[in-house]
């Protein structure tokens, strides 16, 4: 059953089926044209209110959501933690309920703790869109990465994708691993041993109820033995699509896409690796390392990048790096998500007017 994404909230890629992901990406592709117009605005969400509730600093994501809302004619309000009453001691749920009382249609939330958007979704009548929650998920980033990949490679299924860096703390990695394995790509992750969890089930699992339709793409490759419990099948099916490599070279060799994660310097005092310089030497993406990938391989980075640490400057500025494309597609993806999540409950939408 092809259920399009018409749900109220977008909390994570984990909850979506491959069909729903494709539906969002198709919509986003059709929205991307609007940003090229002279009048970059359509009246679609006129009269709707979108609140950007950011408990964590962000320039790119917040601006992207704000532009997406404005290009759809929604009213966008930005709340950042420094100016909010959270700093006056208000609890998260109280903040949420107070915002809810002002009847927004959508709340875009970013928080340093995992699960905050899920909590808000329980109390709020507004659609909740996760703009990054702790180390859990950053669904719109994974969607815009997927859109960038699709624009350049035409498909995702069957691609070999390397994700390099701090997998442990990265919500971008988590959302991407969910999305890419659901779409039938082969993912290889690499990074310092301290920053790459070995436990596959932990990385890709976490859905013990085994929702219907999830991971269909990878399930089929296992032959879908009915005797194995569903959660086990999920784990084995997707484990075969996910490999942990000890060296960055092993992950990059033959890859179609190299996804570089940001080294979170704010976590440096936890001593996950000795020095930034040592990280750059062992895990930084240089042209020499990139030569191991396929000739037409593309490089993605979620930003903000640390030039010369995880990504050599000449790679970042080369034509293989699509970092600015990612930012561009980010607006289209967020327009699509806002459009789909503010659209009411799912009914069949046969036009039937003539």
């Amino acid at each position: 059953m092809n259920k399009p994404f018409h749900r109220k909230d977008l909390l994570g890629i984990r909850d979506l089926t491959a069909e729903q992901i494709i539906g969002i990406l198709d919509t986003a592709e059709n929205f991307s044209e609007i940003s090229n117009r002279e009048v970059k605005k359509v009246p679609t969400l006129r009269g709707k209110t979108v609140i950007n509730l950011f408990f964590e600093a962000s320039t790119r994501t917040r601006t992207s959501f704000e532009l997406a809302a404005k290009r759809l004619s929604a009213d966008a309000v930005n709340i950042s933690v420094s100016s909010s009453s959270v700093s006056k001691g208000e609890s998260l749920l109280d903040t949420a309920m107070n915002l809810d009382a002002m009847a927004p249609d959508c709340i875009v939330v970013r928080h340093s703790s995992a699960g905050v958007p899920h909590q808000l979704a329980k109390v709020s009548k507004a659609a909740i869109v996760n703009a990054g929650d702790g180390a859990n998920e950053h669904p719109t980033q994974a969607l815009l990465d997927a859109m960038t990949i699709r624009e350049h490679k035409k498909h995702i299924e069957g691609l070999e994708i390397a994700i390099v860096g701090d997998i442990l703390h990265s919500r971008v990695a988590r959302s991407n691993i969910h999305l890419l394995t659901k779409m039938g790509a082969k993912v290889r992750v690499a990074g310092p041993g301290t920053l790459v969890p070995r436990d596959f089930a932990y990385l890709i699992g976490g859905n013990p109820t085994g929702r219907e339709g999830v991971h269909a793409a990878t399930l089929s490759s296992t032959g879908g033995s009915p005797s194995i419990s569903e959660s086990n099948t999920l784990a084995t099916g997707r484990v075969s699509a996910l490999t942990v490599c000890d060296h960055i070279e092993d992950a990059i060799r033959g890859a179609d896409v190299v996804m570089i994660l940001r080294i979170q310097r704010e976590r440096q005092d936890s001593a996950y690796f000795p020095t930034l310089r040592e990280y750059a030497i062992h895990y930084g993406l240089t042209n020499r390392r990139l030569d191991l990938a396929k000739k037409d391989a593309i490089v993605l980075h979620p930003g903000p990048m640390n030039r010369g640490i995880e990504l050599a400057s000449d790679v970042a500025d080369s034509s293989r790096s699509l970092i600015l494309d990612q930012v561009k597609y980010g607006v289209a993806v967020r327009m699509a998500v806002l459009y789909l999540s503010t659209g009411g409950t799912a009914i069949s939408s046969s036009k039937g007017e003539q």
Binding site: T27, V39, V42, T44, A346, S350
Partner: protein, 189 residues
């Protein structure tokens, strides 16, 4: 669509030959009223207006020896019923490759009924620029008594008075098995 709604065809009002003739006449009238194909910009409205617009463009080219500009509008984002239709409908791409400023834009759709689609199309068109003139060509006009907005077509393939319970379906080989126009109704109405 007809199958989903369990519709029965009451009468066939055009076959493929009649459609060809009507489109040829529409093309001739468009060229005649604009004194040629200069500055003409034929814009099809998704879905069924698109292949019709393409055919009109081909006809004009064979009449005038000069191919007018051609584009596609998807009006989904400009619909006035987005808050009432439930889940937001699928968005397709608008393709207006050329500047509309100073052009004579001819909007093409299959059926003119309430006029709301055309209102949405005109609003969208204006966001792209300032055409010198906007005209409307439709294959079927269901008559002014159904109109909910003050909108009329400049070029009409066939005027068909209908009841509100009836549905006019323009079937095109791009989407359907056959090429024809029929009046459909739900059984028992």
């Amino acid at each position: 669509m007809a199958d989903e709604l369990n519709l029965v065809e009451k009468s066939r009002i055009m076959d493929s030959t009649a459609m060809k003739r009507a489109l040829r006449r529409l093309a001739t009238e468009i060229v005649e009223s604009n004194h040629g194909a200069e500055d003409l910009y034929i814009v099809g409205i998704r879905r069924r207006g698109v292949p019709l617009a393409e055919r009109i463009v081909n006809q004009i080219e064979s009449i005038e020896g000069h191919r007018p500009l051609y584009g596609i509008l998807d009006i989904t984002l400009y619909r006035d019923d987005l808050s009432t239709v439930g889940a937001n409908p699928i968005v397709n791409r608008t393709e207006l490759e050329y500047d509309v400023d100073g052009k004579v834009v001819v909007l093409v759709d299959d059926v003119l009924y309430t006029g709301r689609t055309i209102r949405a199309a005109m609003d969208q068109l204006m966001d792209f620029g300032r055409p010198r003139r906007v005209q409307l060509a439709v294959l079927i006009d269901r008559g002014t008594e159904h109109r909910e907005l003050p909108i009329q077509a400049d070029f009409v393939g066939k005027k068909v008075p209908t009841k509100q319970t009836e549905i006019i379906k323009v079937m095109l080989t791009e989407f359907d098995d056959i090429e024809a126009v029929g009046i459909f109704e739900k059984p028992g109405e």
